[in-house]
Symmetry: C2
Subunit: 135 residues, 2 copies
DNA sequence: CCTTGACTTAAAGTTAACTTTAAGTTGTAG
DNA sequence: CTACAACTTAAAGTTAACTTTAAGTCAAGG
């Protein structure tokens, strides 16, 4: 499979694919002349990368989810990522509730609505500065 | 309240506060000489901004959640943001489940585990390119 | 065999969200 | 009243995640 097909199937520009390879997130399994050749499995990898970036992980973090084994994943790291996601899900839920309430609320200003203020206040707690990042 | 106190209370560097003001996300309500003076309410605004950025909204999107009214928020926009959050929560939940499963899974490689692959596949659907952004 | 379109690399450019720096101003404690 | 720590602005620098550009290589169809 050459880069154009991977690009078509993954809906990612070839520049992004080369960039990911340069960053060590994917790999090509040989060349035809100069041209990269890819194995089917790169598509799964790319799906995982897309999912990861979509939910807010950096490329470095995503890379750290893969070991050198080529497809294998570090189990402890996975669990800690899952915990991070749990935290984030809670925050998102809180914010969603806050937004829905704010939209329905009759208070003249949202900043005068006690419920909204309580949501904000809770949100302020639990500042998570940084998470596991690997470059 | 001068900028140092806002900085202390919000735990944001003064440079960030000036940057937010320049971007129109917060405002100072006058000067003492050259020095910005802030109203208490800026702290709520900052809490909301922190929550928003934490859950993945851009500063432009967050700004668009405030109208010119100074504290008021556009209700329709709030609801659409809430819907966006629902989508994101679903994805995060899916990914969290995927990670937990992957960590527990006995398959030799996660890419050989049908359950994991199914999660990946679902994740690939529903690419949301961009959301409402305002500058 | 030759053209050409798809590939290649290296380097520079882009955007968001800040931070840092340089040079200057000023409120306020002593 | 004066020193100076804390403020000010404007501009340049930084990082992540890409994209664009420039200049060159080459597989494959005609």
């Amino acid at each position: 499979m050459d880069i154009a097909e991977v690009s078509r199937l993954s809906e990612l520009p070839t520049s992004t694919l080369r960039y990911y390879e340069e960053k060590g997130l994917i790999e090509s399994n040989g060349r035809n002349g100069l041209r990269r050749q890819y194995h089917q499995s790169v598509l799964q990898r790319l799906a995982l990368i897309a999912l990861g970036t979509r939910v807010g992980f950096s490329l470095g973090e995503i890379k750290s989810m893969f070991t050198e084994g080529g497809g294998e994943i570090d189990r402890a790291l996975l669990l800690s990522k899952a915990d991070e996601l749990d935290e984030k899900i809670k925050e998102l839920t809180r914010m969603r509730n806050g937004l829905r309430h704010a939209a329905a609320c009759q208070a003249p200003s949202h900043f005068e609505c006690p419920k909204f203020l309580r949501i904000l206040k809770v949100a302020g707690k639990g500042r998570v500065k940084s998470s596991v990042k690997v470059r």
